[in-house]
């Protein structure tokens, strides 16, 4: 493997770590609204 090849390996590892962090913290980015919140949202909008 050449020098550039190792760089790709490092980039892949970094990407996989980012994906792992993102998926394990998905609730922080996309909190699921409770049914109550969802109903309130619809009532408010209508």
């Amino acid at each position: 493997m050449e020098k550039g090849d190792w760089l790709i390996v490092i980039i892949i590892i970094v990407l996989l770590v980012i994906i792992a962090l993102l998926t394990s913290n998905l609730d922080k980015f996309f909190p699921t609204p409770t049914v109550k919140e969802a109903v309130t949202q619809v009532v408010n909008a209508t």
């Binding site: 050449e2 790709i8 109903v39």
Partner: protein
């Protein structure tokens, strides 16, 4: 026609000999395939769960709104009441496709590069992986299009079935055939990173390659299905499955590279 002299048969023998000669790459390629399955499940699992959560909430709200005699499914989904949730759902789905693309390109690109090493057609890892990722931009777009069309056609077929329960799903079947063709096109594009490989290969060679690859896969599937019926421990079944299936994937890659080398080899 002397079958033993066809490219399909001579190259399957050559592929098996090459794999036998390169046990290191066979094992690393099998491990990469195993890691790919694990990583895909591990990374996409929570995202799929989120999609289900949002889809259930949206469908519940849709039922409520439709009970109020508001019609037009798409209109309601993108209406003021539901558009924030629909937008979120679309974003999470986009994230699922992006993660699938990255994980697939990283692991499968590596596995195909290893297969190239087995066939002694060495390519720099960086060059091959970048080319593989570039080609997969097209295939992921095709996959997204298939998923969208499949969803629309399945919904349409459910409505048709309400009026005519015995009607065949012609559009769905055509879409499935097109999707299988896309899978074949992708499989044939990877060995030499040529997206139009399927269309630039003589039909006789394509038919031999796909026919024998399908036979190898189906025989493996038959063995695995029957192994699953054996009265042995579940973990042993998994180990047997991995030991059989992963090298078969490597064989199919090496075989495709060897067969297509008669048409597309760069060197």
């Amino acid at each position: 026609m002397n079958l033993s002299k066809t490219i399909a048969v001579t190259e399957i023998i050559n592929s098996l000999q090459l794999i036998k000669k390169n046990p290191f790459w066979l094992v690393t390629s099998a491990i990469t395939d195993g890691l790919f399955i694990l990583a895909l499940g591990f990374f996409t699992g929570p995202v799929k769960e989120k999609i289900t959560e949002h889809a259930v909430l949206i469908s519940n709200q849709l039922s409520t709104l439709m009970a109020q005699e508001k019609t037009g499914l798409l209109k309601l989904m993108f209406g003021p009441e539901l558009s924030p949730m629909t937008g979120k759902l679309a974003l999470i789905m986009l994230m699922l496709f992006a993660i699938t693309y990255l994980v697939y390109s990283a692991f499968q690109g590596t596995a195909w590069w290893m297969a190239k090493n087995i066939t002694e057609q060495k390519t720099p890892y960086k060059e091959y992986l970048l080319g593989f990722a570039k080609i997969n931009l097209v295939w992921i777009a095709v996959y997204i299009l298939y998923k969208i069309l499949n969803f629309i056609l399945a919904l349409r077929y459910k409505i048709i079935q309400k009026f005519s329960p015995t009607s065949p799903d012609i559009a769905g079947n055509i879409l499935l055939i097109l999707f299988i063709l896309a899978i074949i096109a992708a499989y044939m594009s990877y060995p030499y990173l040529k997206i139009k490989s399927l269309f630039k290969t003589p039909f006789k060679i394509t038919a031999q390659l796909i026919g024998l690859s399908a036979v190898i896969y189906l025989v493996t599937d038959f063995i695995l299905t029957n192994t699953n019926k054996l009265p042995i421990d579940y973990s042993i079944k998994i180990i047997i499955g991995i030991i059989i299936l992963m090298p078969v994937f490597t064989l199919l890659r090496v075989y495709a590279i060897r067969v297509l080398s008669h048409v597309h080899a760069r060197n």
